[in-house]
Symmetry: D2
Subunit: 431 residues, 4 copies
């Protein structure tokens, strides 16, 4: 089986060591087909070299599990703690992010050796069968899965800047919606609960893992609302373009309009206008425009402008979560192949389909702490909390998200101008 982020599907009953092996192998499988050159270059400060992702995810286990927890463990290299720390201030100084692409050494081979060194030590640690490290290992694996998605995003961005428009390899893409003409699904208002149940927080028991920012579970007050049964499609977006949406300031937030002008946006990222129509740049290279597939690689500003143009709005994250609760992320049930079966259309029971695993869906909610949120103690507490400003929440996971990684309570977040992730739009309206 090709593509996706993992070579094997998660097994509900797998043990922690097996899971560790599976996820780590999935990262390496993902890198197949990339040259040393591809894995070294950094295309923008927001992105990192693939090589850096391979090393940083290992650094996480070394720093938070092996060094403090495995007696006699020797770090692979005295400088890697400096080179491969991402943003943990409490851990010490680090190599500046915009300069990650200057590190031609260590090379890819040495980074792979680093991974092996860490994997062997982790095997020893996990073989001890101790209970305490389980939560941190689960966190490390979830972290690694996030970087699997980042590898796809960052590599796609890098290749998109190459005039040769090189193809990497076929990968899972957002499933087309042709089976779903779309309809409005209604939800009641009232007091509802959202967020991860804190009692399982940080635990891997029964697959019950969540990031700290997903909790605590808490009550919210919703007004009756409607969600559309599927994401906005490329075809619908083309209508927005052709209606002059990118040239009409009244549709845009002020900061969004400034971005349109400064960046010269005229279409989603990676769209290219050819003589014979539009194409979209993907891991498999430039592909013809599919009007039925969900639109992808749009910023929050674009999503918001589209919704205004359509006379609708973006959903609140709480609305999204309430609608998604009880739905299974597609990956868990449908498998993940190169040509994934189209996600289920709007279900008979009135729930929307395609909420998971096609495109991250921008919400109207700024990324803020939930009531009662407290970051974890220690350096890992820097994981999510310190980013709770200036970003917007996205929900649902995308085609590049590893199977089993997302859930209804999952909160992703990006700055409103960013477009290199697989982000799309679902419309909402007041009932």
């Amino acid at each position: 089986m090709q593509g996706g982020a993992t070579a094997r599907l998660p097994d509900p009953g797998e043990g922690l060591a097996a899971r560790y092996s599976r996820v780590r192998a999935g990262t390496m499988a993902l890198a197949e087909g990339l040259s040393a050159e591809d894995m070294t270059v950094q295309s923008m400060p927001d992105a990192s070299p693939v090589k850096w992702h391979l090393a940083h995810t290992s650094w996480f286990f070394e720093t938070f599990l092996l060094t403090p927890g495995l007696p006699g463990y020797r770090p692979f290299h005295p400088s890697f703690g400096y080179l491969f720390n991402s943003y943990y201030e409490a851990v010490g100084a680090r190599h500046p992010r915009p300069m990650r692409g200057l590190l031609t050494r260590p090379g890819v081979a040495e980074v792979i050796a680093y991974r092996r060194h860490v994997d062997e030590a982790m095997a020893a640690l996990l073989a001890q069968g101790r209970e305490e490290p389980a939560a941190l290992v689960a966190l490390g694996l979830a972290h690694e899965e996030q970087h699997q998605e980042l590898i796809v995003m960052d590599l796609l961005h890098l290749l998109s800047l190459n005039p040769l428009a090189p193809a990497w390899k076929p990968m899972r893409r957002p499933a087309p919606c042709e089976a779903d003409p779309g309809r409005w699904l209604s939800f009641d208002g009232g007091i509802r609960s959202i967020g991860w149940d804190g009692s399982h927080h940080g635990s891997h028991c029964g697959g019950g893992f969540a990031f700290d920012n997903e909790g605590p579970r808490h009550e919210v007050l919703l007004r009756p609302f409607r969600l559309f049964s599927r994401p906005v499609t490329n075809g619908e977006w083309l209508a927005f373009i052709e209606a002059g949406g990118y040239g009409e300031p009244s549709l845009w937030l002020s900061d969004g309009w400034a971005a349109v002008q400064a960046q010269g946006w005229q279409a989603p990222a990676y769209w290219r206008r050819r003589d014979d129509g539009w194409t979209g740049f993907t891991p498999a290279g430039d592909l013809p425009f599919d009007p039925d597939a969900p639109v992808c690689h749009v910023s929050f500003y674009e999503a918001d402008a589209f919704a205004r143009w359509a006379g609708k709005r973006l959903p609140l994250e709480a609305e999204w979560e309430v609608a998604a609760e009880g739905l299974e992320p597609a990956g868990n049930t449908l498998g993940s192949g190169l040509l994934r079966p189209a996600a289920a259309p709007a279900r008979r029971d009135g729930r929307p389909g395609q909420m998971f695993g096609d495109v991250w869906e921008w919400t109207a909610s700024a990324y803020s702490p939930y009531p009662g949120f407290r970051p974890a103690a220690g350096a890992v507490g820097e994981y999510n909390g310190k980013f709770m400003a200036n970003q917007m929440v996205l929900r649902g996971g995308c085609c590049a998200t590893p199977d089993g990684h997302v859930r209804a309570s999952y909160r992703n977040f990006f700055y409103p101008h960013q477009r290199w992730m697989f982000a799309g739009v679902r419309l909402a309206e007041d009932a």
Copy 2:
């Protein structure tokens, strides 16, 4: 009477024409003591020349009321529509904001003539006694009051960059809190209503004006919480500085820590470390540090870091509004003199004091539309809605806010890195 933004106090029973005269005169009174040089220079892109404020507020009446509504009205100058449009895309092209300070012509005298021209025409318009323009006139006057505060902010920023540290004139300052040692006031949770009652929206009847972003009134779900009875003081902030708060990354949001490093922040804006202690730069020049006065000129990032250091948090805007409802803004009851009597300490009835008119209080709430919010039709709809991204809500008004301008539902908003407004901090915690 000296200082403040207005020369006369609002009278609950005053008619629209009288109110127009009072507010417009207040703007001119504010400019007293400024030279043509002072009124011409722009100190940063965020700020505007005083002269520009004088002209732009007149442009507002000319554009939205006189040109469409007064038969035979002749615009004062054919280019002023271009020069003094701030950001209304629907009105047409405009002079770029960062270049406002290059306009040495028209000079101050011509701008004052422009004001007179507009005032005479507005007198004619208001003398017609028609009902329809009332809401727009009220909006124009509220807009002018906002620019009165901006004049103080912008001029203070300009003078702060002058090595001579020149004094402008004595003005109202945040009232010291020495009468209030501070205590925690508890509030119940549950479903509460906040926001302006839409039925009066945009109307001036009975003083009942509110900006569009204050509504619609809607229900929110609050958890039990506590607010401190007064804002954080300079003395408390000094303790934060001396404890190394500006050097400890774990206290800061990631974007905030980046701002600390890029800007070299070590204290609030306008604080200066002298051999014999700190001073603060004010409209009256450099003044000695008052440990009992509310801290002022801090960014959201600093407010948030301080709260984290103190083991507390910032209030949500809904919490703030619930606590403030029923309180009268100080200006309405206490008058506004140079040496304003200290605001009332925490009231016997368990309400906090000093919620209005000393410092804008940063909240933890991102500036978003209320449920059901719709901007006004036409160009004035660009007033507030298009800024609903990337900014944080502040509440309560400050010493530079004209009397009668704020209310419990008033939502001010700034970017989290900005510091030139009179912004301070009130602490909150979960009950």
Copy 3:
């Protein structure tokens, strides 16, 4: 008499005190017609506010003559030494150049009082009739004359950015060349001497002043060359534009082509394309295009590209000086009125006309020290020498240069991308 930089013509026999009074009065006469607003704003880092020029030229006398040389002299203000130092590192710290426009205080009136204070003290100093200060006074007056020209340049740049295109006042303009169809004048090669004769260096005796960078006089080896009898005209430049000169990279130096693209140059500075033809922005406002007048406000890059397009080259500064020797600068003989008589056409004796006082003429020579050049001792030694890198020499003076200021050996210098001075082009070729 109106216009020009000085209100009175220099008198060969005038004493130093009279000359001081004349030059200083000329500066004030120049400022007539400017508002306080006009005199305060800084339009770009390269330019300074008029008010700053008025103060800085006074600072020069205060710092280098009064404080060290007039017993009992009290500086006007303790901070002016900091505020109005331009670039003399040896004198101490100074206000950053790009922030000169933020100084709304001192205001224009106070700066004029400063000038009077200095003038009175200088009168006392000069009344002592001592010999030693004469050279420094002459330097200070030449310095003041340079700032007279800068006032015109800087104010013109400021007004050019105003959408109202305001006129300041009529001024002398480059004399049209209609009397001179142009012809090539030949000069012999061989060893020639150029540069100011050091024996008179820095002295005012007999009007014999020169800046340090004009000497020592030294021999150069020239090859036979030809100079065109007059500068390139607007009409000739229009032909270059219409031939696509601004779009053809092969005509441009690499750095010049980068400037064309980065700045979007399509014509000289201040040219504006109207429906009915080109205009040029001048101190008298937008004026219709005069095809016979020398082209003005072009950068070195443009001058060089034009010459390449014409199959010619720019003259070396030594070629220019040899051709100009023996010619009297026009101002000395022709007076300087608003409508100056056309400069003499190519003379019967084979010398070119119009070499002085119309437009500064770019040369092909980088601004370097002459052999044996040594800066003056002390802070005034920073006057010219430290700028001898990255700039190109211009010769001849322009319409904004005060009468009597230039001479054949005069070396002006600007960066090759700069255009706000009155700079034009004279063509040369090998014989």
Copy 4:
């Protein structure tokens, strides 16, 4: 034999085909020891990836010789003309210079295949034994040798930014001067000739090649002068540092002082202050400070400031060339090994030693066209002429310059702030 830029020494009698093979092999030999990662990354806009150099030098032969001159030649790849054009506007559009490092594809292996493809076709072309292409081939080889030096410079800069301070491989370094305590050598003034004799221009006959910017040969007028017998050493530079040279503005050109402050210069590039003294970063990694070796990696600004501090000046390029005429570049006679014998000290005949092959020596001469200079016709005419602005001439070649590449008339040029080339200083003074 290791190091240097070429694996074999030039043989005076070698034919063009043999020379082609030798030079091209030398480039590949130079790349030995570099990983694909090393060869892909671009460390700054001024530098290029090694891979790009390998491809661009092949592009030169393909574009200027094979495509126009070898019947039936098929370009290796239709996009390489776009990707690997450096700056030839006449050849068409090109990939932006600052984005060269984003081209992970084509990979190193494909670039090497490109080189082979070109080499085979060039062999066929050269086997035809035609006369006409000889000059262009010689130019292409000289061009390739320049890129050999750029490879060393650019790779050194890249590795210098790696916190691991990785060593590449031992290479020839500037020869220490311990055999030469130094003395002043006097030269007469008068009319002298410099520059390449045009009759051999562009020809490879008898090794007689020169770049277009070295001619025409022409007369210059020199005054008597003295040159120091050897370059300034590290030890002498350390004295400058310790005397506070980097902190004393009076020693610096104005633009130079601005660079010192903006860049934070406190020592030459690649110097690092350790607890136990200074080291210098070299292709062989960090090496201890050798006080007798010529100082290297200094900017023009630093060279100029040092000379002023020493009470001397930099030589004019004509002075340098006159002194060097008749001297053989060291590489031709002494061989080029890893540990090259110290260059000859000042010769008995009064000529300075060590003028070639250790460090490029900054001159006081701006890079300008010689009298009568005309660029070659066609796109290759963009080779040197269009850079004749804003740069300074350096003379003599350096340790990274391929043997046989330089000569007395050779004119190298860099911007005055640049430091990543192997640039040093020789002092001069008036006699």
